[in-house]
């Protein structure tokens, strides 16, 4: 065992190649298999929305905090901020400086925020006053502070962070309006009021990455495979929230980074990547995340979220 570990450290490419020629990967998966996703919804009782997502040895915990802010005259939508912390527990491969680590995690966080802003209905975060006609601006809206912490990192940080943030937002329950809470509190003995609203999603997004190594495509690469890849393609697939099992998923975002000296990436290869990463593994991920929303969509809770 120690000899194999030493060989891996000294000759990482040869180590990986010896597996790949047999169409198998060091962790026992096939080249096109994704790692199982496990979602633990609402592990934090103190946060209105939280989730832990585990993909292989990559684990990300996300919590959502709520805040209210005054909308400007022109603003009609709520706000979403995302923060990612890859602390010492999550840093396994990055031997750069602290500033470089921050730059990388900030870039991942920015991409996650962009996808989330497109996937949820920010307009539904506006609070409407009782009996008030819909006004173009003014009033208050919810600000969602989404904080993710990477607990362990073994590749695909963006995929796991996005899945974790989506799961946490799916478990989010808004408190009812304060005056309503007051009425309910008189008849109840504390605790969370019943019938809390859920967040309205437009898309359910899930990302699957593909690494290119010597012409072979490795779906959902580990940290070791990512470090040796000459190109990595990350595709964010989205399924419309109102038809979770129906239509084909669409591409919400595509990110490709390639080392031009080592990889030969053309449109044909991108087509192959879209084909292999849009398979069963992505469907499972989308289904796992969509299942967190199904109750809300069926029960119509989302529609009544902001009503007084």
């Amino acid at each position: 065992m120690q000899e194999a570990e030493a060989f891996k450290r000294l000759y990482p490419e040869e180590y990986l190649d010896r597996f790949l020629v047999k169409d198998i990967r060091p962790d026992g998966r096939g080249l096109r298999s994704t790692r199982e996703i496990s979602v633990h919804a609402s592990p934090l009782s103190s946060a209105p929305g939280s989730a832990v997502v585990r993909m292989g040895n990559t684990t990300v915990i996300t919590s959502v905090e709520l805040g209210l802010f005054d909308l400007g005259e022109e603003s009609v939508a709520g706000r979403l901020e995302h923060e990612l912390d890859v602390g010492p527990l999550g840093t396994t491969h990055n031997n750069g400086s602290i500033a470089r680590n921050r730059q990388q995690t900030s870039a991942v966080s920015g991409r996650v925020r962009q996808i989330l802003c497109r996937s949820i209905d920010l307009g539904s975060l506006k609070l409407s006053e009782p009996g008030e006609e819909a006004s173009p601006g003014g009033g208050k809206a919810w600000a969602l502070h989404v904080k993710s912490v990477c607990l362990s990192l073994d590749g695909c940080l963006f995929d796991a962070t996005l899945a974790s943030a989506v799961a946490a937002l799916a478990t989010l329950r808004f408190p009812r309006r304060l005056e309503q809470l007051g009425e309910d509190a008189a008849g109840e003995d504390g605790g969370r009021p019943e019938g809390d609203g859920a967040l309205r999603f437009l898309w359910v997004p899930a990302c699957t990455a593909v690494a290119l190594h010597k012409g072979r495509l490795l779906v959902d690469p580990t940290d070791f495979e990512e470090s040796l890849a000459s190109a990595v393609v990350a595709v964010v697939w989205g399924r419309r929230a109102d038809s979770p099992g129906g239509e084909e998923p669409e591409v919400l975002a595509l990110e490709l980074g390639s080392e031009g000296q080592r990889a030969s990436v053309d449109a044909q290869l991108v087509r192959r990547c879209l084909g292999v990463c849009g398979g069963r593994g992505t469907s499972q991920r989308l289904a796992a995340l969509a299942s967190l929303l199904v109750e809300d969509i069926d029960g119509g809770e989302a529609d009544g979220m902001m009503e007084a």
């Binding site: 040869e14 497109r118 591409v251 919400l252 980074g257 031009g260 000296q261 990889a263 991108v270």
Partner: protein, 240 residues
């Protein structure tokens, strides 16, 4: 986006007029090896490149067993038009770092550092493509060996249901806001011959793609093909 035409009167597959000026930082401390000011429509950026210089002892360049792999540390700083750098600028810095690492030639001195400093002077869409083009020109001016000639273009896909999607090259800010999908594509053309016929036959190697917006897989691939044609056009224009 106006039906049947674009706000500034361009055709769908027409780029904005672009010009660049090399060696804009002639004064200073003499540490800048390459600098360029690039204007594309009303988007304008200035990029400086410093290096390759010996890495500081504290900067660890990742060791690799692959001899073909470039082990150069790339740093990037992007400053906005006004205010302080935020999340968006950090994302741009990350894109520039990956882009530079992807286009460097293996003959680039190992265990060195290349620093790219970009200043956004004016912003009107296709910012990342403009920054990557300016970075490529500054790298070339600095004499840093590249594996080929990099060209970046931006493509927007307009809302067009139920008709087929409408692709627009080099979108401005207003077009980006109303588009269904906006993507930046960087190609690396590798050949020593830059004659017009040779450009058509050059192999285009994709080094960077970032898209945001929903589309089916077919439209995403179509945008990629259009971007490659546009990149060849840019290359041909530069060769002339």
């Amino acid at each position: 986006m106006v039906d049947g035409g674009r706000g500034d009167g361009r055709e769908d597959l027409e780029l904005r007029s672009s010009r660049y000026e090399l060696g804009v930082t002639g004064v200073g401390n003499g540490k800048v090896e390459g600098s360029v000011r690039l204007t594309s429509g009303r988007t304008e950026v200035a990029v400086e490149v410093k290096g390759p210089e010996a890495s500081l002892a504290s900067v660890v360049v990742k060791p690799t067993a692959n001899r073909d792999r470039v082990s150069v540390n790339v740093k990037s700083v992007v400053s906005p038009v006004s205010g302080q750098s935020g999340e968006r600028e950090q994302a741009l810095e990350e894109s520039i770092i990956k882009f530079v690492a992807g286009v460097l030639d293996p003959s680039c001195p190992p265990r060195t550092t290349i620093t790219v400093v970009a200043q956004i002077l004016s912003e009107d869409g296709s910012l990342l493509a403009c920054l990557l083009n300016a970075t490529a020109l500054a790298l070339m001016e600095a004499g840093i060996p590249l594996y080929g000639t990099p060209v970046s273009v931006a493509v927007a896909v307009a809302h067009s249901e139920p008709s087929p999607p409408r692709l627009c090259l080099d979108p401005d800010l207003a077009e980006e806001r109303t588009s269904q999908l906006v993507g930046t594509y960087s190609y690396l053309f590798s050949s020593v011959d830059s004659s017009e016929s040779a450009i058509e036959e050059m192999k285009a190697n994709i080094v960077h793609v970032s898209t945001l917006g929903n589309s089916n897989a077919q439209t995403a691939l179509h945008a990629l093909t259009v971007a490659e044609k546009a990149a060849r056009l840019v290359l041909r224009t530069r060769a002339c």
